[in-house]
């Protein structure tokens, strides 16, 4: 498919809260190509989640334009827009009164798929996120944190979106689960040819998963680059600090391991 427009484009997007007193996002411009995996990294309060939510109109920008697949989102019905974009939530956000299968089926139901089609899709997605199919009838609260977020990923992918937004998706998980889930998702991203924008405060996670990283501070994007570029030649002092922390930790771990042997 020849694509002559970005999957997602931010053009001079700003967002203020409290009638202009709080500036959450400040003149952000960024294009995310189709099939690209972009991580937005920043501390809490940097405006990264607000920026993410302007993509599916959970937040309306105060000024600037957000485009999805070449179209200004202001011209798209917000409910239709959200249903065609997958969303993995920070707090998992599974519906506690619905079974695993019903949670996964939420968006296909909203867009009116046939029941047989939905059932088949639920099974397919459980396989994709490597959950046993007999989990389908369980309630979310009976699952482990890792299992719950796998269901969250399956729910986001259910209606076959081209774009998936992830808001600190693995933040609440233990390191091992987090690592395996992140790598599995990366594989799914490639396999399905998705465009993914992931919010994280963890530079290491971003470096390991993303094609490109946008670093945000105080509502602005201070630097954008591939992991290679940021690792080797960070232009921004803050970015250098962010990169240095995991690097220093890694070498410390190496040193300790060497000293023992």
């Amino acid at each position: 498919m020849a694509v002559d427009f970005a999957a997602i484009a931010f053009r001079d997007v700003s967002k203020t809260f409290d009638r202009g007193r709080t500036l959450a996002v400040r003149a952000v411009s960024l294009e995310v190509a189709s099939g690209e995996f972009v991580a937005v990294v920043g501390t809490s309060g940097s405006g990264k989640t607000t920026l993410l939510k302007t993509i599916n109109r959970l937040v309306e920008p105060t000024s600037g334009v957000v485009e999805v697949e070449g179209q200004d989102v202001q011209g798209i019905d917000p409910f239709q827009l959200r249903r065609r974009i997958g969303y993995v939530f920070q707090g998992v956000g599974l519906f506690p009164h619905l079974t695993v299968a019903e949670n996964i089926a939420v968006t296909p139901r909203l867009v009116g798929w046939a029941k047989t089609e939905i059932d088949a899709r639920v099974g397919e997605l459980l396989d994709l996120v490597q959950l046993p199919r007999d989990l389908a009838r369980r309630m979310p609260t009976t699952l482990s944190g890792g299992q719950q977020q796998r269901v969250g990923v399956a729910r986001a992918l259910a209606a076959r979106p081209h774009i998936v937004l992830m808001d600190e998706p693995f933040g609440a998980l233990d390191p091992i689960t987090r690592d395996s889930l992140a790598r599995e998702y990366r594989a799914v991203h490639l396999e399905l040819g998705l465009t993914t924008v992931m919010i994280t405060h963890d530079m290491l996670e971003a470096v390991l998963l993303a094609d490109r990283i946008a670093v945000m501070a105080k509502g602005e994007i201070v630097e954008v680059g591939t992991p290679h570029e940021l690792l080797n030649d960070p232009k921004n002092e803050y970015v250098r600090e962010l990169i240095d922390v995991p690097r220093r930790q890694a070498s410390e771990v190496e040193r300790l391991a060497g000293a023992r042997s």
């Binding site: 959200r82 969303y87 519906f95 009164h97 729910r155």
Partner: protein
């Protein structure tokens, strides 16, 4: 089985059926309004504050006052719609009770629904938005189902309140389990009072437990619990409605005020009409002004009032006249201003009168208030809590220039025994009270007519004025009930031993009328 228990059982299907019907309808309306308002309250913080405040204020109005307020309100509304659209509706009974109870049930439902929905986890609400649910979809697919246990708790509170408060709808003419309590209190039939309380409590408990099952079903997401609760409610509802108000509301309605004599007279009129082949219902325990307005409006067809009551309370007359004159004036006034027809006096009166022990009266040769004057300075007098503040007391003292050693206020039911025991010398009693006969007391004449006459008069509604069959059925009562007969009937219902129900006393009264 005790006659009173038997008669309580016999009334249960009707009372319970009407009680359930009223409560269920009120709850259904409260539920619909409460849930709708809650949705508005969830969407707008400012309106939420307003709604909860108003609902809270309504809740602070005592149930009986709220019920009583709806009667004149609806009466005025009915008069308005009749003038504007020619449509009239009954302001008595079901409608005012229903509206008051529905209003009462809104608060717990509204408050719990708002709390429940606002309490849904923000992450879940955010997810519902994020997956592309519309506001309505979020409400019905996510927020309401998750808030359901809290909402159900509110519905339970509302149900218990409504079932309890519905007992207070009796004075505005709605049959309910409260009929046992109100008539029992007035006729000193404690079996009825206890029966009514127990029936209302059992009903409230059963409904509450069924709703609790449904609540647990929502909380644990167990369908069978919800179904079990719903089935229990359905059984209660169907059972009370099937065996329930089968008697229905008769074509003719006779009313009565909330005291023994009136219960007996209402029962008597009911029996007369039924015997004449007219379907009739007795509605006892109606408030004094409610019953008069209800007769004017044709919501009841007949009741017995007292000439003095109409003379002072409705005609606002402060002067006194003879029995005959008062009767004539009252009859003419009723016809002219309210189109109510006075069928005639029953033959007895229920007035304030000075009453003494027979032996003391005979010893002092006292037959009238005038005879009493020389001895009064050495005698004590007791009256009910309002007597010494009433115009009758002032008028009597002025007319006879009589002064007693001391005055004492007493609960009216205890006065007669007090005078019989010699604890007090004279009481201001009621002429038709059964205790006058019980203690063989003497009623003093009032030669100067200082105390206004309270002749019992049978009044019929404007719409029955030309109903020959109806008038014919009630006509035998006119002029045929002597004060003595009424005293005995009242005594039969109020005495401690061999107490009769008002229906039994009415039947005996009928036999005596026929013998005349």
């Amino acid at each position: 089985m005790d006659a009173r228990i038997a008669s309580a059982w016999a009334l249960l299907p009707d009372y319970l059926g009407q009680h359930v019907l009223l409560s269920v309808t009120a709850l259904a309306i409260g539920l619909a309004v409460g849930l709708s308002l809650a949705v508005i309250g969830v969407w707008s913080a400012r309106l939420r504050w307003l709604l909860l405040t108003v609902a809270g204020l309504i809740q602070t109005i005592p149930g009986i006052a709220l019920l009583a307020l709806f009667y004149p309100l609806l009466l005025a509304l009915s008069a308005l719609t009749e003038r504007l659209f020619g449509v009239k509706f009954s302001a008595l009974g079901f409608l005012p009770s229903l509206l008051a109870l529905a209003l009462y049930s809104i608060l717990p439902i509204l408050r719990n629904t708002v709390t429940g929905i606002l309490g849904v986890d923000d992450a879940v609400k955010e997810a519902a938005r994020g997956v592309g649910m519309t506001q309505a979809q979020r409400l019905f697919k996510v927020e309401l189902p998750l808030a359901m246990p809290v909402i159900m708790a509110g519905i339970r509170t509302a149900a218990v309140w409504v079932i309890g408060t519905a007992t207070l709808s009796t004075p505005i003419g709605q049959t309910s389990l409260g009929n046992y309590i109100f008539s029992g209190l007035q006729t000193q039939n404690w079996v009825f009072v206890v029966f009514g309380c127990v029936a209302a409590v059992v009903l409230a408990l059963v409904v509450d437990q069924c709703l609790a099952l449904v609540e647990r079903g929502f909380a644990r997401r167990k369908m069978w619990l919800k179904l079990a609760g719903a089935a229990g409610l359905a059984v209660v509802l169907l059972a009370s409605l099937v065996v329930g108000p089968s008697r229905g509301v008769g074509t003719y309605v006779v009313g009565g005020k909330p005291f023994i004599e009136q219960y007996i007279l209402a029962a008597l009129m009911d029996q007369r009409l039924e015997n004449a082949g007219l379907q009739a219902t007795a509605r006892g325990g109606l408030g004094s002004t409610v019953i008069f307005d209800a007769l004017s409006a044709g919501e009841i067809d007949a009741y017995v009032d007292y000439s003095g009551t109409i003379w002072t309370n409705f005609m606002h007359r402060r002067d006194n006249a003879s029995h005959k004159q008062v009767l004539a004036d009252v009859g003419a006034w009723l016809k002219k201003t309210r189109h109510i027809e006075m069928l005639g006096p029953l033959g007895f009166d229920n007035a304030y009168a000075l009453v003494m022990r027979r032996d003391q009266a005979e010893r002092l040769h006292i037959r009238s208030i005038a005879d009493l004057v020389p001895y009064a300075a050495k005698l004590s007098i007791a009256g009910d809590y309002e007597f010494f503040a009433r115009p009758e007391w002032k008028a009597m003292r002025a007319a006879y220039d009589i002064n007693f050693r001391r005055t004492r206020e007493m609960q009216s039911t205890f006065m007669y025994k007090a005078v019989a025991d010699g604890e007090i010398d004279v009481i201001a009693g009621y002429t038709s009270d059964g205790q006058i006969a019980q203690y063989d007391l003497v009623v003093l004449d009032d030669p100067k007519q200082a105390l206004p006459p309270y002749d019992a008069v049978l009044l019929i509604s404007p719409r029955r004025a030309d109903d020959a069959k109806f008038r014919h059925a009630l006509a035998p009562l006119i002029g045929h009930i002597s004060t003595k007969m009424m005293q005995q009937a009242n005594l039969a219902v109020s005495r401690d031993r061999n107490q009769e129900t008002p229906e039994q006393a009415a039947r005996e009264l009928w036999q005596k009328i026929d013998m005349k």
